[in-house]
């Protein structure tokens, strides 16, 4: 499984490039490959924004029910989400609404995790001491309940 260390913004390019080719190999449509690249981008930004550093890994999965897909895991050294439900909401981080005036300074408008949620089929957060891991899965054939959400 490819594993990438994330310490700075430049570290986004390698996993983003490789996830596209990996997804293409698994059998994702071209547009879905780009969407997975966006997911990787957002997860890396998230690691850098809310954690100190972290890692990102992805691999092909095959699920008897959902078929072929890709799982992406992003782990950061940082505090747990104060409120995950809020963090996933567009225009919010885990503490509450984001002031539109601060968007340029903080580099984003609080929709990164929302985008991750929209572009994947399953989303889970696991905590361990001093770190958290976001695990997302996306299947070649999107389950009805999540496609186009």
């Amino acid at each position: 499984m490819p594993r990438f260390v994330i310490r700075e913004r430049l570290d986004v390019f390698e996993p983003r490039r490789l996830v596209r080719s990996a997804a293409a190999e698994v059998g994702f449509r071209h547009s879905a490959c780009v969407e997975l690249a966006i997911v990787v981008s957002e997860l890396v930004s998230n690691v850098l924004k809310y954690g100190i550093a972290g890692t990102l890994e992805f691999e092909r999965i095959e699920d008897p029910h959902s078929g072929l897909g890709v799982v992406i895991r992003a782990t950061d050294i940082g505090p747990p989400f104060q409120n995950l439900e809020l963090a996933l909401k567009d225009g919010y981080d885990d503490r509450g609404p984001i002031d539109p005036g601060s968007m340029l300074r903080r580099g984003g408008f609080g929709t990164g995790l929302g985008a991750v949620l929209r572009l994947t089929d399953s989303f889970a957060v696991d905590y361990s001491i001093g770190s958290k891991t976001i695990t997302v899965k996306r299947y070649v054939t999107r389950p009805r309940s999540t496609a186009g959400k």
């Binding site: 913004r9 430049l10 390019f13 390698e14 983003r16 071209h30 547009s31 780009v34 969407e35 690249a37 966006i38 981008s41 957002e42 930004s45 567009d90 968007m103 340029l104 580099g107 984003g108 408008f109 929709t111 990164g112 929302g114 985008a115 929209r118 572009l119 186009g148």
Partner: protein
């Protein structure tokens, strides 16, 4: 007889030395010549010097491969940065007097689209632009929120007193816009950058 024996021994030593030197030549610097310290033969002195040379060579070699590794590391960083600059840069092109174009290519995430907004709005003020064209021909897929953000960016441009046109929207993104039910009434779109520019030129000549 003793002289012959000496010569024979000497030959052996020289052959041995040649073997050792050839392994050094092949990169094995861990080898050393056998030196008899008790002997006063000039050959022993020569051999000791050769041993020192081999050690010095080994040290130099070690250092230069450390440098090489470091250099390779630097090259890797430069390569990463080059790719980054290409993707991260937000070039704003002044196509015409007062006409700015922001061509957007690559993978568009929220961080980058926020930065683009900042750069474009500042450029409009700095260059006193009257028309801004955001060309997204190079974007295949966007998250729905990012599409929404582009619409907002277009409105922000208008607040600064400039016109704004979105060009190069592909069918996939068009579908996203419609599915989201975004209000397009005040957004000017053109099929291509070329169309937008000729529209502007016609309207202002």
């Amino acid at each position: 007889m003793t002289a012959n024996g000496d010569i024979e021994q000497l030959r052996e030593r020289v052959a041995e030395a040649l073997l050792v030197l050839s392994s050094v030549g092949f990169g094995d610097t861990s080898v050393q010549l056998r030196v008899d310290v008790r002997s006063r033969h000039p050959l022993e002195a020569a051999f000791s010097s050769i041993n020192e040379l081999i050690m010095a060579f080994a040290a130099e070699n070690e250092q230069s491969s450390a440098f090489r590794r470091e250099l390779e590391g630097h090259l890797e960083v430069i390569e990463k940065q080059r790719a980054a600059i290409q993707e991260l840069s937000t070039p704003i092109i002044e196509l015409w007097e007062g006409v700015l174009c922001l061509p957007v290519v690559g993978v568009l995430d929220t961080v980058r689209s926020t930065e683009m907004t900042g750069v474009l709005l500042q450029a409009i003020v700095d260059k006193k632009a009257r028309y801004a064209i955001i060309d997204i021909t190079g974007i295949e897929v966007m998250d729905t929120r990012t599409v929404d953000h582009f619409m907002r960016m277009a409105r922000a441009v208008r607040l600064l007193g400039a016109e704004c046109a979105l060009t190069g929207i592909n069918p996939h993104i068009a579908q996203t816009v419609v599915q989201m039910g975004l209000d397009l009434t005040d957004i000017v779109t053109h099929r291509s950058l070329r169309d937008a520019l000729s529209h502007y030129v016609r309207a202002h000549s």
